[in-house]
């Protein structure tokens, strides 16, 4: 029973982080029709930046203040997104063809991976002070790190926040209008360049936040983004690319399967995940909630 609760909490923890990654990916795709292959590197960048901030301030400020530094990674990655979209991607829209954005973001991935290696070196960067500070809490007879619950809460808040942003704000309806018919929105006076930039920025902010909140719990390491990207792909393949609901359901599904897998069939845990994704596709070719935002 204890182990059962423990595993559910673990699943929710991974689901929160995975949701942030996949929702960012889906938001960008839903609005712009672009898949950012450097999305995983953005995740790693968020983790590294937050880890650096936490480590630099760790000895100076009291632990509760460190929570305020947690979003630094998200903000930096959001700003990177705001630069990348106009500088690298904007020239490609008129040319058409999906291959060019994929290629250019693959180039960006190569650049970012080496840039992170250049800045932070090859050694893992731990920043676990917040996890120590929060300690563990006991649920039934078992003790669970309170930071894990904090991450689950952040995931829930971010999910609700994103939903409100997309469906309840004026800008959200402009975003959805652009997503459905970019030319029509443009004719109606929407500044679609601005919308694209904002969508890419918000998507980057989300994935950066994912990296930022996981780093106190898991060390920042090189290559963490590569695996994160593939997992996010599995999430959107299951949930449907471009759908926020799909990102949520997909993240939960993937996390629970992974947790089960690590417990019962560790060697083929990822392979089982892919097989499930393939089965979903055979039944629902566009994923469970495929389509536009």
């Amino acid at each position: 029973m204890d182990i059962f609760v423990f595993q559910i909490l673990n699943s929710l923890f991974y689901a929160s982080v995975l949701f942030l990654i996949a929702a960012g990916l889906s938001l960008i795709y839903g609005v712009m029709g672009i898949v950012n292959l450097a999305h995983g590197s953005f995740f790693a960048l968020g983790a590294y930046v937050t880890a650096t901030a936490l480590r630099a301030a760790g000895d100076v400020v009291p632990a509760p203040v460190l929570f305020l530094l947690l979003p630094t990674g998200a903000i930096v990655v959001g700003l990177v997104g705001l630069v990348v979209e106009p500088v690298l991607l904007r020239t490609l829209y008129k040319r058409g063809g999906e291959e060019y954005p994929l290629l250019i973001t693959f180039g960006l991935l190569l650049i970012l991976e080496d840039a992170m290696r250049f800045i932070w070196g090859g050694n893992p960067l731990p920043a676990g002070k917040l996890v120590e500070y929060l300690g563990s809490i006991s649920i039934l007879d078992l003790s669970y790190p309170a930071y894990g619950l904090f991450v689950i809460a952040i995931g829930a808040v971010a999910g609700i926040g994103l939903w409100l942003f997309v469906y309840k704000t004026r800008f959200g309806s402009v975003l959805r209008a652009t997503s459905q018919d970019m030319k029509m929105a443009s004719n109606l006076g929407v500044n679609t360049s601005m919308v694209y930039m904002a969508a890419f920025g918000v998507g980057s902010l989300m994935v950066g936040l994912g990296g930022a909140i996981i780093v106190p719990y898991q060390t920042a390491v090189l290559g963490m983004g590569m695996d994160a990207l593939i997992l996010a792909f599995v999430v959107v393949v299951i949930g449907g690319l471009g759908s926020l609901k799909g990102a949520l359901v997909g993240a939960l599904a993937v996390s629970f399967v992974r947790t089960l897998g690590i417990q019962f069939f560790p060697e083929i845990e990822l392979a089982v995940l892919y097989i499930i994704a393939a089965l979903v596709l055979l039944v629902r070719p566009t994923g469970l909630f495929g389509g536009k935002i």
Binding site: E98, E99, L102, G107, L109, M226, I230, T286
Partner: protein, 329 residues
Amino acid sequence: MMQNTSLRSATIAGFSILAGLLVVPFILDPYQTLLLTYGLVMAIAALGFNLLLGYTGLLSFGHSAYFGAGAYAVALSAKYLGVTSMEAFIAIGVLSTALIAAVFGAICVRHTKIFFAILAMALSQVIWTLAYKLYDITNGTDGLNIPFPTLLGGSMEFVGSGSYQRFVNAYYFYVIGFFIAALVVMWVIVNSPFGKVLQSIRDNDVRAEFIGMPVKLYRWFAFIISGSFTGLAGVLWIPLNRHVTPDVLHWPFSGEIVFMTVLGGFKSFIGPVVGALFFNYLKTYAIAWTEYWQMLLGIVLVVLVIALPTGIVGIISNLASRMRAGGKQ
């Protein structure tokens, strides 16, 4: 008339390049021969990849699976079945990649565009995780080693002193043979009625469907052929490297295959070959020059996509047609 002269000049160019390739081991040092062999192997991989991208309009970000599966099929059959003959390796390797491509392809060709790309990538990582995690069978990240295979039905063995040197020279010609065969077979495929259907699917799949073409089936065939060519390249690659790790199955390696194809120009037949050879030198010298070679390659790719999307062959043919136009004035 025009057709004849261009065909004749292409034939002359082809034969002079072939003659040049055949004398390479006699004039260049062994390292350069080895480097060129790697380049030719990658050219076969890119040639296969481009049947999907250039001729069928499907961008696969999962071709590392077929390259790596070819290499692992060799390493595993050497380790567990005691196979030593290169021809047997090729048969086993190409068959197993064709099988994997048939399974993955059946799932992928239900989709196009970005969804096809990420699906191909996600599926390719199944093979990667298996090679990575099934440590007892594959040695995990330590990888597998293979001895020098025998060539030409066991008539050429490489043991004792100087075997490395002898292998590198003999294997170069061996790879040239497969390279030319791959070029010819691919040329025949893309110019056959089958190849023309693929191009019509690339240009307008709805119309192709309307005139009665089984679009998904043709895409599936193209996927299997493409995967098998890339698998053959993986098979030919491992005797050069003599060591395989899951890195050749990891998806960034798929990105490299895409990269070299676009570098050469995916809209021409010969583009992927030129791109693969060029990329091979670019990567080798970038690694020798800086620890941060990936960043260098990334910058090259970004500049390429923004400024020179037609690749090397596109630029050259553009220049050539401009010069011809200039000469007439």
